[in-house]
Assembly symmetry: C2
Homo-oligomer: 695 residues x 2
Amino acid sequence: MLDALFRPRAVAVIGASNRRLTIGYRIVENLVDSGFKGPIFPINPKAPYIKNFIAYKDILDVPLEVDLAHIIVKNTRVPGEIEKCGKKGIKVVIVNTAGFGEIGEEGVKLQEEMLAVAKKYGVRVFGPNCQGVMNSDPEVRAYCNFTFTSMIEGAISVMAQSGGVGEVINNRLYELGLGFRMYASYGNQADINATEILEYWGNDPGTRVILLHIETLQDPAGFARVAKEITKRKPILAMKTGRTKLGAKAVSSHTGGMMAVDTTTNLLLEKCGILTFTDEEELCQAARALAQLPVAEGNRVGIITNTGGPGIIVTDELTERGCDLSEISQASRDSLQGNLYPEASLANPIDVLATATPEHYKLAAATLMSDPGVDIVFVNFITPFFVDTEGVARALTEVAKDAAKPMVACVMTEKKGWQKTLQIFNVGGIPTFDMPEMAGKVAAAIARYGALQRRQESSPVSYNGVDTAAANQLIEKTKASGRAFMAQADAFSLLAAYGLPVPAYGEISDCAGALAAAAEIGYPVTIKVESEDVVHKSDAGGVALNIKDDAELTAACEKMGQNFPGASCFIQKFLDPGIEVMVGANRETEGLGHVVAFGLGGIFVEVMKDVVFRLNPLAADDIDEMIHGIKGFPILEGIRGRAGGDIEKLKEVVSRISMLLRNHDEIEEMDLNPIFSYPEGREPGLVDVRIKLKI
Amino acid sequence: MLDALFRPRAVAVIGASNRRLTIGYRIVENLVDSGFKGPIFPINPKAPYIKNFIAYKDILDVPLEVDLAHIIVKNTRVPGEIEKCGKKGIKVVIVNTAGFGEIGEEGVKLQEEMLAVAKKYGVRVFGPNCQGVMNSDPEVRAYCNFTFTSMIEGAISVMAQSGGVGEVINNRLYELGLGFRMYASYGNQADINATEILEYWGNDPGTRVILLHIETLQDPAGFARVAKEITKRKPILAMKTGRTKLGAKAVSSHTGGMMAVDTTTNLLLEKCGILTFTDEEELCQAARALAQLPVAEGNRVGIITNTGGPGIIVTDELTERGCDLSEISQASRDSLQGNLYPEASLANPIDVLATATPEHYKLAAATLMSDPGVDIVFVNFITPFFVDTEGVARALTEVAKDAAKPMVACVMTEKKGWQKTLQIFNVGGIPTFDMPEMAGKVAAAIARYGALQRRQESSPVSYNGVDTAAANQLIEKTKASGRAFMAQADAFSLLAAYGLPVPAYGEISDCAGALAAAAEIGYPVTIKVESEDVVHKSDAGGVALNIKDDAELTAACEKMGQNFPGASCFIQKFLDPGIEVMVGANRETEGLGHVVAFGLGGIFVEVMKDVVFRLNPLAADDIDEMIHGIKGFPILEGIRGRAGGDIEKLKEVVSRISMLLRNHDEIEEMDLNPIFSYPEGREPGLVDVRIKLKI
């Protein structure tokens, strides 16, 4: 439990100072200014008092019980201070001091030493090299941090790997009048880490929305376990920075981590039902909306507007971000017809005209709320001076109150003159936005959040008739042989054990064997050399395709024998080419599922980068979105009179692959490229596979 | 000259009212509140006074000279009022009243009647169905508009097709403390149109930047002529709304125009050197920067930061938007080494650390300013309480002052506490932004603006040896025949006249002729039926490819004769396939050049939409950007050991096509698909062409 950290009854500041421009002064000042509810104990061996407080020479001199202590002294002195904290019975220390794990070997040693002392006394450590925490709960009011944002009570808790980013977010939430519930910027996470804090906030009734800034995840698997549970109850919104190659480089030089564009983290976040963003402003604005609105059941938006131009902007934003504009039902039109101005437009956007009355808005909003084709109600409202804008705001809040669908409003106004109008909206539970673009982005985020919530409910399919025993045996066999790559025949047998459609095949060691196998399989056949060394088999002459009869086969076997003396070969039924598709899988992070890639093969993946990634396990929704998500999808549907593929059968292939991967964590990489997709009714053909095991 | 509109010495309000919630009251009030520098004359037949002013029954009763009159009376009474304005000698009327061209036939008639009266008296009309204009020049202070934004003096003039969008922009500029210079929202543009206003602002020394909101351009060619001249002197920034299919539909239902996603307008805007945006916030923020900064000479950004996390965000934004991060030169490193904190990072971003002093910032900024690898200096500054932030601001403004490179700053702070620091930045000519994302977007906009400025200097190539006489003759021949599509042989002759590489060809009418032609051309050959009706020739059996000898040719001719009795045919040298490329051209707007498309052929264009459009004429820079701009460009460079195309030769092909199009405005559509691109040294082959003339 992190109560001692976030709800301390008394706070000590070890290294407190009277010099205004020091962290040791600032923390004392912030605690006072924010109205901390308990006693504050500055510790300083020389000063008789700090600010208005008596200063104690030593933490052990403090006469009352203390839950939490800041430590701001020189890094080498930190373990000693923690020892004293332990003796004093302090439960948590925030080590603001830097110069630990982040500076290399020497610092790592010091960090370990510090942790050993802390462990001995059961003291939990937050940091080191960190800002601290805050809690705006009126019962606590703990500003255990040296930053500058004014603390106002709010329902959004913010955790930031970068204190700078955290401060930008906090400050923006303050400007928006939202404030925050709790805040944490945890530095090196030597002991208390992001996952533990997340779990704590998941159980905090005052936290309605959680915002995360992430550069790298320390413990992805643990994080995922906790996050998945929380998103069932409250929204988590996250921003992972370093998404470009240069951005990732900046992360690595900043955190000392590996330099690589990290795609897994965002996949993981989405997998946990976390809504991801690439913009702090959008993150803050979406948090405002999601803190108070019901979940959208779909992506269809009904718009009410009193101004044409901004209505167009909203339409552009929404459709570009995957929302649809609702078809207004006939019943809705009937209810509006004759009750708005005659010149009003009843299409979507519903243009009620600049002079529309509160009754017009109320009718239009109520109509959209009850229209089954509408999932989100969007009000686009410029405040004309000749309209009772407060009446409009009141009318809309009456509709929004207790409604099952979210309503957002773009209120374009001069904020001082129309302060009262804005207040009615906001108190009435309708989040407002200044500009149509941002309002559109937020509405789209609400729709995405609804989709994520629905996806959480769908689970991966398990197929009957899968021969897991055979599959395990094949993998064990490869492992026992000390090879990383499975032999062709074993790999295909593994696929077959999962009911995947593989062409008939066999292992062959000489020409006679090949002829016998071909007799069984039936021509045409393909032979491939079996060799771990030959990665690009075709280039090296290790593949002979479309062999039509015994004579051709004999010739091919002889040639193969010359090219690869003594190598064994693999024979399979040759399939006529279909639409080429690829499925790849990669285990990138310990404790997480494989990253699965789907795309059309060849240049579509290599040049056009037209590929969709998802984290395994894959539910039907995932697979559907992966296949439909590639730009080249029309090719699978069939274009220019050419036949497409059987998409349902393709989905089943991906789904069975997903099952295979989730049962066999030992698979490090898997490449099915190409898979031939054939017209409706015909099974796809998995003609090439490469499986690498973890050894 | 629009002085009477924007700098009126006296304003009358015909239809003024004492009822507060009317436009007739609001305009009088706005003129008073904004401090209009001349007399105000409310006209009302019944009221003895309006607000603090005597009301005149009739405009003709006004005792002084009047330049400008608002007209707010019922639409049918407008022509009569204009007649009186004419008699009074009024130069311009702003017709706020709606119910003209925008409501259909009846309104169109009324609008024409109104214009006829106005013309008779030489009265210029602004509107109808419009908001009005504003001018914040302290000598004028004319708020001839009924909106709510407070008018503060500024250097940015704003013109908005949608009054709603205009108001959002004005209000935001006000909130940002920027204000505006002049404003216009012109409604139906019955007389005074956007182009004329643009020209006026181009010559207004008080206007440093022009912002445009556009839904549709009334007179694209005239607009382009004027805009091109202005962008040589001052930046124009524009936002064209209705960019999605549904957005375009909303524009059409709003303006009554055609529903089509309008791609030409944005191409035209860029062609004129106008920077385009899709977000009002970004538009306003970029205007702030471009109003005061020198033009960037490239896209390489040098970053100074005192916080890691936001530095990563900036890096992500910049690189995603086409900027590069500068390589910091050795000379620069040398000048920094030893003069910043030892832990400071000298890579880009240069991390001066949170505790950096004003001297550190000054050195770092001056170093980047003089580093030849840096085009834009970006300062990422969170304001730590323990730093002399005002000193930092002063140090940076000293460097920025008179510097030849733009400097922007992301200043992350609590605005009230650090007001003075922000003020030092802004008064010192360094635009500041609250968040790293927006600051990054603006820096990228500055780079794009620099690129646009440089592109304005490059002009299209004219080739010697082009046989324009022959080309004209071929076009005249087709026109005379009454056909829209040029015959194959004529079309290829036209290409040949422009020195374009076409395979040898001829027209044939029978088998004997075919054999004779083939003998001259040399096998293999292709024959195609000549028929305007057969659009998809190959599907109908109208094309025979790769004919290798006389026997095959005879057979092909016979078959063609059966399929298309009596039709004449076209024969050409068959070329072995290269990398397929396509160039298309379309005249979409009268008075403008063709829209030219470049892409790889087939599914790359049809499914992947991997195509770049530009407006003709094309300079070398344009062509370079088009060819490099497709996602499939690596295919042209050569991938997986396969040869690429000769890109220089391809550029010349596009350049010659551009010349052809600019000389022959009669061409309505042209399709060169495929063009075969071959490995280095070999001329591309234009094997198929379709040219449609305007008839």
